[in-house]
Symmetry: C2
Subunit: 276 residues, 2 copies
């Protein structure tokens, strides 16, 4: 696996994340799932993985896959936490499970990957979002939960001399540029980028990265290509495919892990796949 | 009043907003109240004002003040709508009142000023916002409602050849820059800027402006100065006061109205008081 995904980018030079607690949201598919598989190869034995998503079946599938890898056989502990992060009880449940299982294990790395996200209904335009509840449900899952979960995780793992703490916000070009018919997604991503910038300002010991992974070959891009209400945008996304500009999750994840392992980015920055 | 507030900036050259429906949120005090008083002087008789805020007493006080002005005597109709925009029923109620009272009156201008906002609890840092409900309540009032209300108002007043439609987002420097201990406020303002950028992309006939009014002498600045958790920021705000850099609402409003009347800004842009 290592040879396939990290030909010469990470891992091959012996760098790793040490003994870590690693929490990945939206881990059941797409980019989150890929991150889980790649990071697993870079953790020391005794590390603990928390994979969070709404779909329990897919999480358990991933858990089984991980158990069969070199990392799994070497003692990586993986916990699946089935949760809808848009709901307070579920966010609290995730934290309870992390606290119970991991708050007293001896680690030198904390990695939180805030990856969970939804595109929202991109078939409609901003002027159609008259229902406050619809907008709130989107914001809860995509914006508020990233703050609550991050704050709670930092509470479970407070600042400590020998603990390297890193929080990743999976961002998007949409955090910087408006795209017609994507009002919820753009708004949510812009909100998140700012939220993590403030966090980085406040916690100088913390490493905070907003990473825009580029256009990835995932269910989300398929949804974007088929459902976007804006005809021009729909065409642009189709063109990405035909011009071979869509990235595999592995390509993008490889760059993310390279950046995290090098650990030289300015905390709070927005970094795009194409900038690395 | 006109002489006092618009020495030579607006109004004096005869420009006005025509016969308008004008909706201002957060109109009971501070910048919103000031905008209401200034715009009243620039509306043609038969125009209709909707003043929205949580405090009915203060709104009615403003209504009485407006009735006593030249504009009030010339036939400006003012409606107070007591509403908490963080709640769906209240947003829906605002729209119902606007629809019933104004959807069939003959106007040539629609002006929606999304001004309502709260600073949030600035005494604490991002890492303390573990409660999803607290974050959601903030986002509902400060982000989601701006979209729902704007979308609903645009539905009541659809595109029409002879109707000039303008939506203002009262923004902040915080939409662009992170400030420690202001995670909710910065996140909300960044989210709103993007939301209105997308709206501007989608509706080319609409005029959309995000206006950052500068540091204003309001209750919000007092709260910021006394309650901010970050000591450095607290000091900076105090310094604004001692260096005379705090603006009156009238100074900032005057620039906003100048920009709106000139109507030359690129739709969707973020404009700061200091840029004008």
């Amino acid at each position: 696996m290592q040879d396939k995904y990290f030909p010469d980018v990470v891992g091959s030079d012996g760098r790793d994340f040490g003994k870590a607690v690693c929490i990945i949201t939206g881990a059941s598919k797409g980019f989150g799932r890929c991150i889980a598989k790649e990071i697993a190869l870079l953790l020391k034995p005794g590390s603990m993985f928390f994979l969070v998503a709404r779909s329990g079946d897919k999480l358990r599938e991933l858990q089984a896959e991980l158990a069969a890898t070199r990392a799994g056989k070497a003692g990586l502990i993986t916990r699946c936490v089935v949760a809808d992060l848009g709901l307070k009880d579920d966010v609290d449940q995730v934290i309870r499970e992390i606290r119970e299982a991991a708050s007293d294990i001896d680690i030198n790395q904390l990695l939180l990957i805030n990856n969970a996200a939804s595109l929202g209904d991109v078939s409609r335009f901003a002027k159609s979002f008259t229902d406050l509840h619809e907008v709130n449900a989107y914001m809860s899952f995509n914006v508020s939960s990233a703050l609550s979960l991050t704050a709670s995780v930092l509470e479970v793992f407070p600042r400590r001399q020998d603990l390297h703490r890193c929080v990743v916000n999976v961002s998007s070009l949409c955090a910087l540029q408006p795209f017609p018919s994507w009002v919820l997604y753009c708004t949510g991503k812009a909100a998140r980028d700012m939220m993590f910038k403030v966090l980085a300002e406040e916690e100088p010991d913390l490493r905070v990265l907003s990473y825009a992974p580029g256009p990835l070959d995932t269910d989300m891009l398929l949804q974007a290509r088929t459902e976007s209400g804006d005809a021009g945008l729909k065409k642009s996304i189709a063109a990405l495919h035909s011009q071979g500009e869509v990235l595999t999750c592995e390509e993008s994840c490889s760059k993310l892990l390279k950046v995290l392992l090098e650990d030289k980015y300015p905390s709070g920055t927005h970094l795009d796949y194409h900038d690395v």
